[in-house]
Amino acid sequence: MNLAALPARVAATPGLARWGRHLTAEVLVEAGERRWILSVRDGALVRAEAAPAIMPRYDLALRFDPAGLEKFLQSPPPPGWHDLMALMRQGALQVEGDVQPFMAHLFWFKGVFALLRESAA
């Protein structure tokens, strides 16, 4: 999964900034051994980079089962693996830490990860 293009794709999707206008957070994204940090400021994804190996700082973590994430990223995704909450239902996504930013900006998180699917297709 290559997140490098994600900030530009988020910026090019106008509705996301509105859903996330009050979202400022450091979000750890984990899939197996791979870890990234998403830096979000007022709904803009300003950075999406590999997490530092030592002492990463973040507010909340989205920990994906790698096989579940792979299904989610398929285009089109199979039924039951097509949404972040579908992955939670499957036990393939754990949301940990300060859950409030995730729930308060759920449209933003769902929209951003759907963009990742398009870039993977």
Partner: protein, 280 residues
């Protein structure tokens, strides 16, 4: 253009408390009572109620449950927490049917409505002609913390809509996807969560399924494949526990088939309604 659908208010007591319940009606023929999903309202049936293939045979009635849509909560609501129960929901459906003078209606519900039709079939087969459960199962286990649906640190309308947004099939038309979500955004504070008290807890109907007699009350269950709340396997397990029940898994549909993509539901639904229209 004016639609043939007419909205009125019904005054009746539910669980001994006076209520003013909004309902919409259209069509002629066999009464068809329509039950919306948790946290939404009767607008979910807008396409069906404008489908002449249905309204030429059925007197269609969709009511907003108390606390939902244009049906306000009962007086004194501010002093307590809304929590739907099996007894209240079944009693409400029967009371509305009786107050409107419906003669053994076909009852069709989706999600919580698809759940409660199982209770009607099990315990009130004399009062209903047949039941259709959309996204129907006897039980759904919790898979997220519903506290966030009614919490001062989330915007209630947005979080309720966002939670259910993935339950809509990816192929649903955008206009109907976002209208379906708008209904959720308009829900009152804590109402969706209060419905889920029934759906994910109190309303476990698995013990009742074996007593359903489909010779007295036929049961048809139609479930969209993209529903990860009431999953296809949940519907199939429910149907397997009801001798004579029919179950269909519908491709390209999610948790709100009548609202998210009625055109995709129609080929599955019309044959069922045609059979049920012919029941004595």
């Amino acid at each position: 253009m004016i639609e043939p659908v007419i909205g009125r208010y019904l005054r009746l007591d539910l669980e001994t408390r006076p209520h003013r319940v909004y309902f919409e009606e259209t069509g002629q023929g066999v009464p068809l009572l329509l039950l919306h999903t948790a946290g939404s309202d009767g607008r979910q049936w807008r396409h069906l109620m404008n489908d002449a293939a249905v309204t030429s045979r059925f007197r269609c009635i969709a009511f907003d449950m108390p606390w939902h849509g244009k049906s306000s909560p009962p007086e004194g609501w501010q002093g307590g927490e809304y929590r739907l129960t099996t007894a209240a929901y079944t009693g409400m459906a029967l009371a509305v049917s009786s107050a409107l003078g419906l003669d053994r209606p076909v009852v069709m519900g989706c999600s919580i409505g698809g759940r409660i039709v199982l209770d009607l079939a099990a315990d009130h087969a004399d009062a209903v002609r047949a039941v259709v459960g959309l996204q129907s199962s006897a039980f759904v286990a919790p898979y997220y913390d519903t506290e966030w649906l009614h919490h001062p640190h989330t915007q209630g309308g947005e979080v309720c809509a966002a939670v259910v947004s993935g339950l809509i099939a990816p192929t649903a038309p955008d206009a109907d996807r976002w209208e379906t979500l708008w209904h959720y955004m308009q829900g009152g504070p804590g109402v969706f969560r209060g419905d889920l008290h029934f759906y994910k807890g109190e309303g476990d109907l698995r013990p009742k399924l074996a007593r359903i007699d489909t010779a007295r009350c036929p049961v048809a269950l139609l479930t969209g494949e993209y529903d990860y709340s009431c999953r296809p396997e949940d519907t199939l397990a429910t149907a397997a526990a009801i001798p004579g029940a029919e179950a269909v898994i519908m491709p390209g549909l999610g948790h709100f088939p009548m609202s998210e993509d009625y055109a995709a539901l129609r080929p599955h639904l019309l044959p069922v309604l045609e059979r049920f229209a012919a029941l004595p």
